[in-house]
C-alpha cells in the first residue's frame, strides 16, 4: 500500500462552508487540503436562494442573532475583497428585503417575534412593519392578498454559485483542492488524523468536518456528534426577465442575470432530493399569490436541495474532547455566515482553539443526560 500523503489541515467537504473555511485557513498561511466529492453531491450550495438574511434569524437564540448580524455586516467588505482576489463578481446586493404576511394575525406575530428578538440581540438591526400600501410604494407589483410585511434593510443577496467558485478558485492558488475525493472514513492516527479516500489516504495534523449532511456519518469517528437531519426545499426558476423586482422577498428574488427564483418549502424527505409535483404547484401558487405578474413568467428549471438542519436550527461549532484537533462545523446558513467562516472562525481554527464565546454553538447542547 502506498504511504499516506501528508497535510497540515484537512477540510472535509467542498461546499460553501468547507470552501469558506479552507479559503480562510489558506489565507492565514496554513497548509490545507480540501476534500470534495464528485459532480453529484447533496450540495446545498447548488439549491440555494442566495439570501444574506438577517431578519428573524436567531429567534430563541440571541447568540445566533448576533453571529448572523455581524456576518451580514461584514458581507460588503467580504464580497469586495473576494471579488477582487478571484476576479469573480459575487453579485452581492443589499437592497433590503420583505417578509410577506397574508393575514393580520400573521403580521402581528411576525412583528412581535422581531421586536422580542431585537430586545435580546446585542448587535442592532432595524426593521419596519408595513401595511399593503407601504409595500406598494416600494413594490407596486405586490398583490392585494399580502396584508403587510416586515422589511429589513440589512438583508441582501448574492449568487451562491459565484461565491463557491470564487472561494475555490482563490483557495486553489494557495492550497490543495481535491475534487473527486469522497472521504470514506476519518480516524485519529498517532498525533494526527487519517483521512481515507478511494484515491488514497492522507495524514493531517488537524481535521475540520464541513461535509454538510456527510458530517453525521463521519463525526463519530472523531469522537464528535452531529445530530443533523436533511430538510428538503424546492425552488422554481424562471427564464431571464427584464429587471423589475428591486427588493428581496423572503421566498422570491430576481437574480442579477434576470431569472426569478422562488420557493420556501420545508419537508422531511430523508435523502430524497427530487422535486415533487404537489410542492412545485404550491410553490407556484404562493408566488403568484404574492406577485400576480409572475403568473406570466416561464419556469425553466426547478431544484430540490437538502438543508443541513440541527435540532434547534443553529450552527454547531465544536472541537472533539476525545481527539483535540478535530473540529465540527455544521450550519444551514453557509451563505450568510461565509464572512464569519472565512474570518473569525478560520482564525480560531488556525490557532487550534475555538472562542469560548461560541459555547452556545457547541454540540454539548444536544446531549441528553444519561438516565
Amino acid at each position: 500500500m502506498r504511504s499516506p500523503h501528508k497535510t497540515g489541515i484537512a477540510v472535509i467537504g467542498g461546499g460553501i462552508v468547507g470552501a469558506s473555511v479552507a479559503y480562510g485557513l489558506a489565507a492565514r498561511g496554513e497548509k490545507v487540503t480540501l476534500f470534495d466529492e464528485g459532480d453529484i453531491a447533496f450540495r446545498a450550495a447548488r439549491g440555494n436562494l442566495g439570501n444574506v438574511w438577517v431578519q428573524g434569524k436567531g429567534a430563541g437564540g440571541p447568540a445566533y442573532a448576533d453571529l448572523t448580524r455581524r456576518a451580514a455586516k461584514d458581507w460588503d467588505d467580504f464580497a469586495h475583497d473576494l471579488g477582487a482576489e478571484s476576479g469573480i463578481d459575487l453579485h452581492f446586493r443589499r437592497p433590503g428585503a420583505f417578509f410577506f404576511c397574508f393575514t393580520e394575525a400573521e403580521l402581528e406575530r411576525r412583528s412581535k417575534t422581531l421586536t422580542d428578538l431585537d430586545a435580546q440581540a446585542t448587535v442592532p438591526s432595524r426593521f419596519e412593519v408595513m401595511d399593503n400600501a407601504g409595500i406598494r410604494r416600494l413594490l407596486p407589483e405586490v398583490s392585494s392578498a399580502v396584508v403587510g410585511a416586515t422589511f429589513c434593510s440589512d438583508d441582501g443577496t448574492t449568487n451562491p454559485f459565484h461565491l463557491l467558485r470564487a472561494l475555490l478558485s482563490v483557495f486553489e492558488r494557495r492550497g490543495d483542492y481535491r475534487p473527486g475525493h469522497p472521504v470514506a472514513r476519518l480516524a485519529p492516527d498517532g498525533s494526527g488524523f487519517r483521512v481515507e479516500t478511494p484515491q488514497g489516504d492522507w495524514l493531517a495534523d488537524r481535521v475540520i468536518l464541513t461535509a454538510g449532511l456527510g458530517n453525521k456519518e463521519l463525526a463519530p469517528g472523531l469522537g464528535l456528534s452531529a445530530p443533523i437531519r436533511p430538510v428538503r426545499g424546492q425552488i422554481l426558476v424562471t427564464e431571464k426577465l427584464k429587471p423589475f423586482l428591486r427588493y428581496g422577498i423572503s421566498f422570491i428574488r430576481q437574480t442579477v442575470e434576470g431569472g426569478v427564483i422562488f420557493g420556501e418549502s420545508s419537508e422531511e424527505a430523508g435523502l430524497d432530493d427530487r422535486t415533487t409535483p404537489d410542492v412545485i404547484q404550491t410553490t407556484a401558487q404562493r408566488a403568484v399569490a404574492a406577485l400576480p405578474l409572475l403568473a406570466n413568467a416561464q419556469v425553466v428549471r426547478s431544484w430540490a436541495a437538502l438543508r443541513v438542519m440541527s435540532p434547534d436550527g443553529m450552527p454547531v461549532y465544536a472541537e472533539s474532547a476525545a481527539h483535540p484537533g478535530a473540529f465540527l462545523v455544521t450550519v444551514h446558513s453557509g451563505v450568510t455566515l461565509a464572512p464569519f467562516h472565512a474570518g473569525p472562525l478560520a482564525t480560531a481554527l488556525s490557532a487550534g482553539r475555538l472562542d469560548p464565546a461560541w459555547q452556545p454553538f457547541s454540540s454539548d447542547r444536544f446531549s441528553v443526560p444519561a438516565s
Binding site: E239, N296, A297
Partner: protein, 97 residues
C-alpha cells in the same frame, strides 16, 4: 432565399416587427417569417446577439417571439392567424401585468 413549392395563394397576413407578411391561415409561423427572407427572430439576453430558428422542432428555443403581446412564444410551434402581431424578442422577456 427560400422558394415556395406550394403555390397556393396566400389568404391572410400578419405583421412581424411592423412589416406585413402574407401567409396562409394555419400555417407554421416560423416558416412564414423565414419565407419573407427574415433570418433573425430575436436577440439574446446575455450579449444581444441576433438569433433565428435552428431546430424547427421546439427544442432549441432560438425562435422566441412575442405574439399579440405574449412573450416567449416558440415561432416554430405557433400557427399563423390573420392579423396577429408578432414582434422579435429583444433580450430578456418583459412580463405583463
Amino acid at each position: 432565399m427560400f422558394q415556395r413549392l406550394d403555390l397556393r395563394e396566400f389568404d391572410t397576413s400578419f405583421t412581424f416587427a411592423g412589416r406585413a407578411i402574407p401567409a396562409r391561415e394555419g400555417e407554421n409561423l416560423a416558416a412564414a417569417i423565414l419565407r419573407a427572407d427574415i433570418k433573425a427572430f430575436r436577440s439574446t439576453p446575455r450579449s444581444g446577439a441576433p438569433r433565428g430558428p435552428y431546430c424547427m422542432m421546439g427544442v432549441c428555443f432560438e425562435c422566441l417571439v412575442t405574439v399579440d403581446g405574449e412573450p416567449n412564444r416558440q415561432a416554430c410551434l405557433e400557427t399563423v392567424h390573420g392579423g396577429m402581431v408578432v414582434e422579435p424578442q429583444a433580450g430578456a422577456a418583459e412580463i405583463n401585468r
